[in-house]
Symmetry: C2
Subunit: 583 residues, 2 copies
């Protein structure tokens, strides 16, 4: 086994040329072995095995620096840079994360999980090198899907006027997370069809040197191409065609489903844990909107599955022009939402919380400054959402609640979500964001109050202490109130704030009468969050406030309940807190 | 006078063709008349006079919709759409703002001040039109400088795959705020040199139809071009060459200085109020850094003057590769800063507060997640900074202080700025942002304490009430303390928090001993700001906190002192507040 001999890039260089494809085959086998057990980013990793072998054959990392865009395709890179055990030995599967990480290895330049970042980051390394008088090669590896993102373009444009070594590898597998969208992709298609010789080359238009390689799985040709540009004295784009999911026929065919997947049977790709279960609440709400409101347009920035739109259902809505995937271009999606709403249409942009931050300026300036009544669905927010520091979802409340004109709603139950969604998409007064629950609770008939904009809801009326718990933490707050009452005979007040972009001053003032303590609970960052507004409101009142929330840090690889408990949020800890503070 | 007859676009359509240039000349004269009295965006407005006349000749606003990028070039548009008095009659100069504004006129589609937004916003209008079954023309007018921004690219890429009417006018005057940077500009130059026929057309590469017009000041040719694309059934880019500052020889020559200017004498362009005075503190600190640290690289995103770099000084530093203008591409600049710091270099990115928000994702993900020790200089922050809602600078504290790993420093005096700048650019532990004072106070020897990371400074030790005032408000806090002591004989405590990304817990705890009230003062938004952290810290302590700050709104056209006073921040109001609360 060749892979046995590989403990770092130097070992790749020591191989005979004929062994390189063997190494690639073994790496691919290792990847399939682990991916089939743990799941992960299947397609992108299988697609860059030969490219990764060639990179470490030709360049000398860590002196030469490779920046992986998104870095979800870094598994082969990790295998070749001293971390193969994490892919071969189940006991070591958890030694590494799914993204590049400088703390893991000197061969990883950045911790990244966001798309379209590599060219600019590599340019920064290159400028750092120049200032220090270095001579290393700087390499960015970017996918075709990422080229739709503005940051990638800004980097390419700057690179086009840069005069020193920079190698940009376009790993073109003709697929984003879902299919690609945008005029650029016709250009890439034409380049692929002509061996890189078609008219109006996007990269040459930006002043970049350019080479095309059709077979991105021919490791010797890859090595030859990379050798030909090693130590090049100017930026160049190497446009390399690869096959997403290479080596697994079902993944090569169904590239969207195999972008990332859970554990699967290698033989046929069937999932080991049964088919993934999707809650259809969001999808159903959007479909109902599209059906009842002919001016409605739903936007996604490259993640249509996140909204539940797949297959023929998606295709059919796309044909109407009212379900629009702009590719990984959140800025554009947010601005378009503003434009649609300005025209008078009903615009909904659904986006994962960590990626919403990519459109912060457009949210503030393009949408909220204009006070256009578009709706933003914030998906996987807070501690129950994404769990990697590369995909920070803990900052949604601090990020959104200081933006003027924006109303940020936090439903708890399915019924409440639907109520708020209907409110947001029918009112014409202001932009609204909805903190879509990761899990939809349903209280059915237990909560018969109607959501009123600007008003919080009292779910349980007590005295002494009030718990104000954001959306997903209401079940914990209610449990704590139950347990507390059982133990002490005293009922607590439990409040659902419903809207996070302000406080319900009427209700908060009313609490002063018969409460001495307010405890706020949020499954997001404390600093700049909802609770601090409550603390500020009560600052001079004599009523005491304790804010519970997540500390300001790039928390990663956490379990939601453990993270919350570590920040004082569990039924027991809350009861203890109240007893301590009241006593 | 033709302009006398023009009260709206219909009147432009009623003119004889031969009158159109006369109208343009009169509009230009009106612009010069007002600009020379009030100042404003000189170059961009003089450059689009004929284009604007042609647009309103050919298209029918407000049914047809014109989206002006940045919208600093909208003065002629305002003149032709019922607002000419604001340019002809000094009594009406203040009737209009310097940017498009839907509240002013149905001919203005959006309130905008940020670059690179028009194509996406226009696409949104177009999608809104499609959903509603409309047939109007949608037109975006975008400058060459704006094409360096990622949002513009994202919009163009989406437009390249769009199948309906959309007219994108590239107003190419071969100049950004300063000179252009990036590979794209060689492409535009080649297109200009070849009448639009050079190889590797950037727009065609994105799938867009394309036409070129060399003389953007020939109103009849402009009319003919626009007529030829009216009601076109697909997106098209009209690349039109114009002259920035057209009609004022000195403005045509010195395009950077005349991008915007104060009142001037028309005869020779000399300023009426004497030469503008620039504080050189920032420039000097950067120059000293570049000289003492050969790994230092200073970055700007299209606004080198904001850092004091002009003329040969700038050119010389640019030649070293260590002063880098990436064009209006804040995302790229922020990511590059992270890369430079990762390499080991000293990176400083200076950016106006309102534009920093365009790189929020890159600040969080590309820089802070990686904890790379780059420095961000936040220019013109808070109430003393920019004064238009299109350039919102009031959110810097809420926006920055929840981002993990980032240390946000707020100096008051010149000496403190220099101390903090040196700290930020020599430590290697974390990214730092500095809230650069709009006006540098100097206390010289009065404050001899040294800045210590994480520590606040007690400027005046009293008891009972403590004022914690962010940077620029310290003079007010000290004056209030003086006046209060004079009146009551009791000294107040005055604290400079120095760093805003956390609170100095040691000091805050110490205040509990002999203080009953803490008043925080910040010249930025209250919601999510510094003061609310203090309120949260003291929430359960019994010590009372009052947070003073600006309300969450798109405040515009304010005087800083009036805005602050309206939010309780003046010497008298603070004294009154303390007396009320203490009593």
């Amino acid at each position: 086994m060749v892979l046995e001999t590989i403990n770092g890039p130097a070992d790749v260089k020591a191989l005979q040329p004929a062994q390189l494809q063997t190494l690639a085959d073994e790496v691919r086998e290792a990847l399939i072995g682990r991916l089939s057990r743990t799941g992960g980013h299947v397609g992108s990793n299988l697609g860059v095995v030969e490219l990764t072998v060639a990179l470490h054959r030709v360049f000398s990392s860590p002196q030469d620096k490779i920046v992986w865009d998104v870095s979800h395709q870094c598994y082969a890179h990790k295998i070749l840079t001293g971390r193969k055990a994490a892919y071969l030995d189940p006991a070591h599967f958890h030694d590494v994360t799914g993204f590049t990480n400088p703390r893991e290895s000197e061969h990883d330049c950045f911790k990244v999980g966001h798309t379209a970042t590599s060219v600019s980051l590599a340019l920064g390394l290159a400028k750092g090198r120049d200032a220090a008088g270095g001579t290393e090669n700087i390499i960015a590896v970017i996918g075709d899907g990422a080229l739709g993102g503005g940051e990638a373009y800004e980097g390419l444009n700057t690179a086009g006027a840069y005069k020193k070594n920079l190698i940009i590898i376009l790993n073109d597998n003709d697929q984003s997370v879902a299919e690609n969208h945008g005029g650029l992709y016709a250009c890439l298609k034409a380049l692929r069809a002509t061996g890189g010789n078609s008219e109006n080359n996007f990269f040459r238009a930006l002043g970049l040197d350019y080479r095309y390689l059709d077979d991105g799985h021919d490791v010797l040709r890859l090595v030859a191409l990379l050798e030909s540009v090693r130590d090049i004295d100017h930026p160049i784009v190497l446009h390399i065609r690869t096959i997403k999911g290479k080596g697994l026929p079902y993944a090569e065919t169904d590239r969207e489903n195999w972008h990332s997947a859970g554990p699967f049977h290698v033989a046929d790709g069937s999932p080991k844990n049964g088919p993934p279960k999707y809650d259809t609440t969001v999808h159903d709400s959007l479909t109902a909107l599209l059906e009842r409101d002919k001016t409605a347009v739903v936007l996604t920035a490259g993640t249509p599955r996140a909204l539940g739109f797949v297959g023929e259902d998606r295709a059919a809505w796309e044909r109407t022009g009212r379900f629009v995937d702009v590719g990984i271009a959140e800025e554009n999606a947010m601005a378009m939402a503003s434009g649609i709403a300005r025209y008078g249409g009903t615009a909904v942009f659904g986006v994962y919380a960590p990626f919403l931050q990519r459109a912060y300026d457009q949210l503030s300036h393009d949408l909220c400054l204009n006070n256009n009544p578009a709706t933003v669905l914030v998906l996987l927010p807070g501690a129950f959402g994404m769990k990697s520091d590369t995909h920070l979802g803990l900052c949604d409340i601090p990020m959104l609640t200081h933006v003027p004109n924006l109303v940020y709603l936090a439903p708890e139950t399915r019924e409440e979500y639907l109520e708020m969604f209907r409110y947001a998409t029918t009112q014409k007064q202001h932009p609204t964001a909805i903190r879509v629950p990761v899990r939809f609770y349903s209280r059915e008939n237990k909560d018969e109050t109607t959501f009123l904009p600007g008003r919080a809801k009292v779910l349980r009326k007590g005295s002494g202490t009030a718990l104000i718990a954001v959306g997903a933490l209401l079940p914990m707050a209610l449990d704590a109130a139950d347990a507390f009452e059982k133990e002490t005979g005293r009922p607590l007040t439990v409040i659902n704030p419903c809207f996070l972009s302000g406080v319900d001053e009427v209700l908060l003032n009313a609490l002063k009468k018969d409460h001495r303590l307010v405890v706020t609970m949020e499954d997001g960052e404390l600093d700049g969050g909802y609770g601090q507004r409550v603390a500020s409101f009560y600052g001079s009142s004599g009523l005491r406030v304790i804010n519970l929330g997540i500390s300001k840090a790039f928390h990663s690889d956490f379990r939601a309940d453990a993270l919350l408990e570590a920040h004082g949020m569990s039924v027991q800890k809350i009861i203890h807190l109240i007893q301590t503070q009241e006593g």
